[in-house]
């Protein structure tokens, strides 16, 4: 059962939701948002695409396998804590610097890891559920 309207709009929704999720991720440190919420919104975006255009399309849009994405997220979150060991002798003590007047910290790297784990985690089994359905 494919809805023409949903299929037509899905890519637009997907793009908006993905952009929204990244925006939520980035603003998280100062405004409501962050990796967890961003990841959930992002996963919902991919879910919309999968519902409307099929799991294969959604998988291609994700590029990476969801499980790989999840693992990469964990690894990135881990790596973001390493500079803390080097400078302050304590894991996950975040470091801050500024680049061209914008304050940047390793927190955003950590939050990106959280985002990736949530997106990968949700999609890893959701794609499977929908694939089984098609079969």
């Amino acid at each position: 059962m494919r809805s023409l309207i949903l299929t037509a709009m899905a890519r637009i929704f997907f793009a908006i939701m993905l952009a929204g999720s990244v925006w939520v991720l980035l603003r998280g440190h100062n405004e409501p948002g962050g990796g967890f919420i961003g990841g959930l919104v992002g996963a919902a975006g991919f879910a919309t695409l999968a519902l409307a255009a099929g799991v294969e399309t959604a998988r291609r849009a994700l590029v990476l396998h969801p499980v790989v994405l999840m693992g990469a997220g964990l690894a990135i979150a881990f790596v973001s804590g390493v500079p803390g060991i080097v400078t302050d002798a304590s894991f996950l003590t975040h470091q801050w610097g500024s680049l061209a007047g914008v304050k940047l910290g390793t927190t955003i790297v950590f939050d990106l890891g959280v985002y990736m784990v949530v997106v990968g985690g949700v999609l890893s089994f959701m794609f499977r559920l929908y694939e089984e359905d098609a079969a």
């Binding site: 440190h29 962050g34 949530v118 959701m126 929908y130």
Partner: protein, 774 residues
């Protein structure tokens, strides 16, 4: 070089070694042996310095908990370090020759375990902080598990490995409890500080608990009654590992710890009496079992258990001589027992025969092995001029001088006579006895395998002839280190005509008689099956079996695969706990609720939530139920939003949305309107459980709301969030910065849970395998 640097180098070398061994042939073992040899040289060079004062190296680890990686090398640690690295060198050489027929990977793996074990063992005996000592202690247990189960295709080896791990690791847990209690009472985990000022521990009302925990830890590790059974079973390990771990070094760790804590426990005489009782009992059991054992390695294993019992008994005895006896016996035993294990390995390797009574006439085929065995067994029998003789003289002197002399001497004479007999039979039977059938020796003696036993055997004679070699350099500092105060040590061969000499003579005479009548005694004892019931691991099997049965039956009841049962169990337990807290706790059942102005919009939202719940419980259509649950969820998110929790609300909204999307995928496979499979009675039960659960949560929530809110944390985060976390969103700053480690743990949990679901949902298999469910 600092001690910590040396240990780190040892670790690095142990990790690098297998890569070298796997890529080189026979030379690889020699290269790998360079690591323990270099460490031996390092520790040897420290003898002079340690004689003057202990070497201390402080490395902070978890200062907030009083845990550090302080390493302290005194006489006793140094003796162990030299044994570990010295015998470690020979074991590495021996093992690479013993394993030369094995594929390179297995060879590399084995040497890796051995070298890692050596590193862990060195760290254990060098650690001053009890908590870090415990960590390294458990590392040795794990490596022992890997080595016992090395021939993993053998089910018996796997069982023995599991048994050794379960016994030593559960004992380790008891030890950890003891260590924490000691730390609480003494205010420090430092061994040196605790033994220097034993009063807080000795006067503590918790002393019986501390002693019980430490003794369980030490007894499991050192195979004392009633945990003695795992060591003979651990002989499934390849012989080099048996020689190293289960005779010369690891099993002595329990003794090591008891000796270390002796200055503390000496203040409570009943501890010493307990040690003498358990040590004595272990000695007797091991002596009987040594006479009954069939296999060559089992005989050696039981004699090791007897020796460990002897050491435990010696530590329990009072007086400074017992310290000398402990140190002397540790050295003598390591030298001769490692030799005997090495030789047993050569014999088994060459003949593929493991039974002692089947062996014979091997002196012509394995002459060097025969010579080494002969020398080592003389030392074991305590004949002059071997080091075993000197250590036995001290053993009897310590027993005679203690306040428990009669019983200690009696057990000592009996068990040592058996050890003399065992030594005689081990040396004579396989090499000079008549063989039942002529043996084909597959491969003769290899230099890598004979070097170790010969060297150790010769060292045993040399130390016996010239005791001054070890007396001042090793024995004296080690004995003083465990006695806790300096005293005059005389470690020499000839003491004149003393009661000890008479006892030695008696022991040798008795032992010779036993050895002469070995066969009839062995067979008569074997026939007594009752010993098997008492002395073997029946108790272990019983406990393990019962535990597994309990796990199975509780799983059958609590986790039977029906989701409703899970939900009922969880909510009933939570309700029960809440009810207990509310009924037992102080004050009235319901708190006084402060009057608050009613906010109409919240009432509307709450009505929405309640409506969602009622509909979900009442409708037969699953789709309607899902939508209704979603309604409740959105209502809850609105409550968060209206009460100033935008992050929480946003998360809740996203989760609710995704929930519907995910559940839809499942629902597509189910009938739209499902006929309820629950009987009215079951539904009544469900309603009761959920009603009580709701009531409990309501009362608990009222109580939480009634308590005055402690704003300390809120204020702390509000103030520090921007200057320290550089973010205005306090929730996010807590998540990614203040409590980042928690978040890291959480995302790891999310990842693993998702991985589990993903694996279970493998396409096509889930419906087939689980049958009617899904």
């Amino acid at each position: 070089m600092d001690l910590s640097t040396v240990l780190l180098a040892s670790l690095a070398g142990s990790i690098a070694a297998p890569f070298i061994v796997a890529r080189t042939g026979a030379v690889g073992g020699v290269i790998a042996a360079a690591l323990p040899a270099a460490l031996f040289a390092y520790f040897f060079a420290q003898i002079g310095a340690v004689g003057a004062a202990p070497i201390i190296d402080v490395v902070p680890w978890v200062p907030s908990l009083g845990i550090d990686l302080t390493f302290r090398l005194d006489g006793f640690s140094l003796l162990f370090a030299l044994l570990i690295t010295g015998i470690g060198t020979l074991v590495t050489l021996y093992a690479s020759s013993y394993m030369s027929e094995k594929p390179p990977f297995a060879r590399a793996q084995f040497l890796f375990y051995i070298l890692m074990f050596m590193t862990a063992m060195l760290a254990t005996v060098a650690a001053d902080n009890l908590v870090s000592l415990f960590v390294f202690w458990e590392m040795t247990s794990l490596l022992s598990f890997l080595l016992v189960g090395f021939q993993s295709e053998d089910a018996k080896a796997r069982k023995a490995a599991l048994q050794s791990l379960l016994v030593t690791a559960s004992g380790g847990l008891a030890l950890l409890g003891g260590i924490i209690l000691i730390g609480i009472e003494a205010g420090t985990f430092s061994l040196a500080a605790i033994t220097a000022n034993p009063a807080p521990v000795l006067e503590s009302p918790l002393l019986p608990a501390i002693v019980a925990c430490v003794l369980i830890g030490a007894f499991t590790k050192s195979a004392q009654f009633p945990f003695h059974f795992w060591l003979p079973n651990a002989m499934k390990a390849p012989t080099p590992a048996s020689a190293y771990l289960h005779s010369a070094t690891m099993v002595k760790l329990g003794v090591y710890l008891l000796a270390r804590l002796d200055p503390v426990f000496a203040g409570a005489p009943w501890v010493g009496a307990t040690l003498v009782a358990f040590g004595g009992l272990t000695m007797l059991i091991a002596a009987v079992q040594a006479l009954r054992a069939i296999e060559l390695k089992a005989v050696l294993a039981y004699s090791t258990v007897a020796s460990l019992g002897t050491l435990v008994m010696l530590i329990g005895l009072d007086g400074p001589v017992s310290s000398v006896a402990v140190v002397g016996f540790i050295l003598a035993h390591a030298l001769y027992k490692a030799t005997l294990f090495f030789c047993a390995g050569i014999v088994i390797h060459a003949t593929h025969e493991t039974r002692l009574r089947a062996l014979g006439g091997l002196a012509k085929l394995l002459p060097l092995t025969a010579a080494a065995t002969l020398l080592a067994s003389f030392s074991m029998a305590g004949l002059p001029p071997f080091i075993g003789f000197i250590s036995k003289e001290y053993l009897f002197e310590a027993k005679l001088e203690s306040s428990l002399d009669t019983i200690a001497v009696l057990i000592g004479v009996l068990v040592n006579a058996v050890m003399v007999a065992v030594a005689g039979v081990l040396a004579l039977r396989p090499f000079f006895g008549r063989a039942k059938k002529p043996f084909e020796v597959e491969h003769g003696e290899r230099p890598g395998m004979t070097l170790g036993p010969l060297l150790l055997a010769v060292v045993g004679v040399t130390f016996g002839l010239v005791p001054s070699l070890v007396s001042y350099a090793l024995i004296t500092p080690a004995a003083i280190a465990i006695y806790g105060a300096p005293f005059e040590v005389s470690f020499k061969l000839w003491h004149g005509f003393t009661p000890m000499l008479a006892l030695s003579g008696l022991v040798v005479a008795l032992g010779a008689t036993l050895a002469w009548f070995w066969d009839p005694i062995h067979l008569a004892l074997r026939r007594r099956r009752a010993f098997d019931e008492v002395f073997l691991d029946r108790g272990y099997d019983l406990v393990l079996g019962r535990t597994l049965a309990l796990a199975r039956s509780s799983t059958k009841v609590l986790q039977n695969g029906d989701l409703r049962v899970y939900a009922a169990v969880v909510s009933a337990s939570v309700t029960g706990l809440l009810a207990y807290g509310l009924l037992v706790g102080e004050g009235p059942l319901l708190p006084a609720v402060a009057g608050e102005p009613v906010r109409p919009y919240l009432l509307v939202v709450c009505a929405l939530i309640v409506a969602g719940c009622v509909v979900a419980a009442a409708v037969p259509s699953l789709v309607t139920a899902i939508v209704a649950v979603g309604l409740s969820g959105y209502g809850l998110a609105l409550v968060f939003l209206l009460n100033g929790g935008p992050d929480l609300a946003l998360t809740q909204f996203s989760v609710e949305t995704l929930f519907v999307v995910i559940v839809m995928a499942v629902l597509l496979k189910l009938p739209i309107v499902a006929k309820s499979s629950r009987t009215p009675r079951e539904r009544l039960f469900d309603a009761t459980v959920s009603g009580l659960f709701a009531a409990g949560v309501l009362v608990a929530t009222l109580w939480i709301a009634a308590k005055p809110f402690n704003p300390e944390l809120t204020e702390y985060f509000a103030v520090t969030s921007v200057p320290e976390g550089f973010g205005r969103n306090v929730v996010n700053v807590i998540l990614v910065d203040f409590r980042a480690l928690d978040t890291f743990g959480e995302i790891a949990v999310v990842a693993f849970a998702a991985l589990g679901a993903w694996a279970l949902l493998r396409t096509g298999s889930s419906t087939k395998r689980t049958g009617k469910e899904v």
